[in-house]
Point group: C2
Chain length 305, copies 2
Amino acid sequence: MKAFGERVTAAIAEKRSAVCVGLDPRPALLPSDCLEAGHASSPREEEALAEASRIFCRRVVQLVAPHCAAVKPQVAFFEVFGSAGMEAYLDVCAFARGKGLPVIADIKRGDIGTTAEAYARAWLARRGEEAPRADACTINPYLGRDGVIPFLEAASGSGGGVFVLVRTSNPSAADFQDLRVDGETLYLRVARLVRSLNEGHVGPSGYGPLGAVVGATRPEMLGLLRAELPTSILLLPGFGAQGAGPADVVDGFDENGNGCLVSASRSITFPWSGESVVPRTWEERIVDAVTKMRDDLLAVLSAGA
Amino acid sequence: MKAFGERVTAAIAEKRSAVCVGLDPRPALLPSDCLEAGHASSPREEEALAEASRIFCRRVVQLVAPHCAAVKPQVAFFEVFGSAGMEAYLDVCAFARGKGLPVIADIKRGDIGTTAEAYARAWLARRGEEAPRADACTINPYLGRDGVIPFLEAASGSGGGVFVLVRTSNPSAADFQDLRVDGETLYLRVARLVRSLNEGHVGPSGYGPLGAVVGATRPEMLGLLRAELPTSILLLPGFGAQGAGPADVVDGFDENGNGCLVSASRSITFPWSGESVVPRTWEERIVDAVTKMRDDLLAVLSAGA
């Protein structure tokens, strides 16, 4: 298996799309046909909703696969349904990988020692004959390098990737991430650790297995972090429903218009959110939303080139 | 259901034990009878190991229940086995709750918005007629208050608790947690947020739903954090295998010898670790280990009183 950086940069270039589709199957927003199929499968509410989520996400993956560079399924929306939810989540990951899409498991795990090794094995390692469950996962840096290295090692062994939370897109990210330490922000310190750990793991694309999550809602940080993290693919949540637009993300890309995945969840997978009923044409609406986002990103990247 | 602070302080007082038993079922350390029973249950390696872990943890819970105040099952050691692992984990949690033991799900989750709400619902909320899956869970504060409030709200609604990582016990905790912001450490800033969010939720015991994880390996911090967090139950990992002893944890307790859970995993559940074979008497060894730890803590607390 080629290294993660090579696979993702190739996907972005070949598909001319930096779109990463976030799969956050909130039950209240699911189309009724998915919910009905879920309820037909089990009388138990949790199993029914896990199945409805699985059906919806599989259909979204099929719809967006030609138009996006990666998918990012959010495990919390499955974990809530217990073991049935975990089964559905792993099915969605395997289905997307089967379509050739890099899967970023959005799990935001963070632990140390043998515990971190267990998480890393769970998500990034080959298990006997079986492929890893995901191509990459997100992790939290609060525990320091002890919490990063086990994931980096597992990723390096399997051609996988790891996205470290550096500066998130939520309002209270400033509570701790923006605090100043010797005149510079904490998130910059986290970025430095990511950069230093990536050394020695960088492939021909210029990127290593350690990427960084950087909120797209603060464009002034993007250029700074792009410069501080030359070997990290950036993963930018916050596009669409959270307020960031195409012009806000331009500075996250490298000089080749690559090295950056722009993630949107609700605005692509639930473009009818806010309307009183789910339209019958929901599948077309999803294709419209993902192709529009791809084209909008291409347009601003071309304008800047 | 009584509030979490009331239940835990009552358990510590009634059992005269501040011991929290960490359940980290590493497959390489499991007794052979548990492994054999697991392998007899399924030809699939992951299902077999999930079942072996479940059997072992249930037996440990039965053995330690009379002697400890809480248990802390580590989800990573189950997540590695996929949906079978999650099923085993939830079974262990339910089994321990059925024995009257408060269960702290050691999941270290951290996210924001609807995602954090989904995690909080998954672990702390009542689901229809069913009890919450756990009494409390651990969370990571890197995303700021947006990442804490959804858990606090779910906990407040169900009599649950939340332990926020404040200062962890691993060597590289210093990478970020010990950085100085305006002359004080980042972990102290995190502690301040915990304290302020706990306001208005404090019960007759003096404790609120938000607790704090503080490594037992740095005794000089304990007194400081006990004073900064008067309404938080402290959860201290790092005892035993990680090097901290009874004298190191005394300052984590309040004036009543309460308000502190001292967690040990390997030293209690695998006291034969390092020996060439698992002794036939492994169950007795676990009871010896947990009662010794309980008595050692009682002894230093009495000496200090």
